[in-house]
Amino acid sequence: MNLKISALEFVQEVQIGNISAEDFVAKTLEKIQSVDDNLHAFLSVNEKAIDQARDVDKKIKSGVKVGACFGMPISIKDNICIKDSKITCASKVLENFIAPYDATVITKLKQQDAIFIGKVNLDEFAMGLTTEFSAFGPSRNPWNPEYVPGGSSGGSAVSVSAFECVASLGSDTGGSVRNPASFCSVVGYKPTYGLISRYGLISYANSIEQIGPLTRTVKDTAFMLNLISGLDSNDNTTIDNKNEDYLSEIDSGIEGKKIGIIKEMVGEGIDPAVLSATKDAISKLESLGATCEEISLDMVKYSVAAYYTITATEAGSNLARYDNLRYGYDFPVEGYEFNSYIAKARQKFGPEVTRRIIIGGFVPSAGHAGKYFLKALKVKNKLTQEVNEAFKKFDLLLAPTVPILPFKLGEKIDDPVSLFLVDINTITANLTGKPAISVPFSVSNGLPIGMQLFADSMHDKLLLQAAHALEGTVTLPEAPI
């Protein structure tokens, strides 16, 4: 059984009867069993997965209409609700919490006969970019287990890269899908803000975060997007995409397209190997008929500070609900006064979440709001204007997903600012609401490099076409697992 097939290949193979969903899911679970002690992508595995796959096979054999996933095993970041399954957000605060309802993306995938093979690791409440801030221990990079897999959707990227599933769903607040996708050599997608419902995604910074797929190929991402995008009455920020088919015309190519190379994302601090890969990507895009030209987005250098100010503020508000009364762990209320009980119970948050809650109280508070929070919102606005102007001239923008190569576990954990700066190339898409994708592009000294393309809002289809074209210019090795 070849577990290394793409989602579209899986669907085709099951559809024509070359493989059964049950066998594939069983082999996938064996794979998880054999590699995950080392990689730690999964926080929980679905024990009913084989039974569910068998049910899909029965439907196929009996001629009943089967959903587009045909029993495809998908991993889900553990901040997305699956009814009656644990949802921990990789936090001790929610260690035994059972989701009472399905996220909209889960409802949609269930309707398409997807199998949720398990819930995967993340930085606690998605705050981080290495998975080192998971309360249940870090995930490891399948390309070299001494290195971080990126984050916060690290478990999602590892599970796809190490063939522990066919595709995954993560969430991207400042690059949390694209960063691990780049570090683990898989495709990671952050759609236009509002394209995918956030109902049932546990909020961290809801004004900018989005659920996004991680897959082996760009076509698989388009396939997933077809299944999970669109309006949702449970999320008023969703937008009507008129049931766009992102997979059709994906082979359109990029001849005649104008691509802006973001100067601030290939400058100071970039790893020479990443810079070299970027130059190679530019030359390959030009050979496909695109025109590439440098563009300066001055606000990018302020984006990290604006991002952390805004997200900490939203996190402070969003995480206020974890009072251990409505959610929480076993901690009796007897003998405590109301506020002191809540403050004591919330000590279970890990160090990074606590730090961000404190910052989230500090920057919008009286005396500081004008200096930090309001200024951050103004930078966000100015950055959006700059990017909108750029899209009047260019069809697409390009930059490496992360300016540096994956680094060793523990290397940056004690230096928050240095860690934050790893996000500098991904944050712009979140602050402006634009779609962006990380495409595996190169491998340097055994470590992957991803290339990032951006498009204007609602130009997701064009973005996927360009990403597919870029993907076709390279042949990369698989993770050595």
């Binding site: 606000m299 100010t309 409505r326 002191s340 730090r355 109280g361």
Partner: protein
């Protein structure tokens, strides 16, 4: 300059006990120092844009019964009430 008193005030405001306020002074100060870069962005005259959704575009404000007893998901409840500590 972030002070220990300020961390104590904010942690109380955010309802989270912090054992060592001193430890957070340095961590928060490092991040706040970095945020000072916002002063040189030249964005003072910018507007702050917010997404606006009119009430008519919101879903109907009506009670939707939940299938299942949510209260039973809680650790501390009695009958149909959430069990909470005493208010001072």
């Amino acid at each position: 300059m972030v002070t220990e008193e300020e961390i104590e005030r904010v942690s109380k405001l955010m309802k989270i006990d912090v054992n060592d306020h001193k430890e957070f002074v340095d961590k928060v100060q490092t991040m706040i120092n970095y945020f000072d870069i916002l002063d040189s962005a030249g964005a003072e005259s910018e507007d702050i844009s917010m997404q606006e959704i009119s009430i008519s575009n919101l879903r109907e404000d009506k009670y939707i019964p939940f299938n299942g007893k949510l209260i039973e998901k809680l650790n501390n409840y009695k009958g149909t009430y959430v069990r909470a500590p005493k208010m001072s």
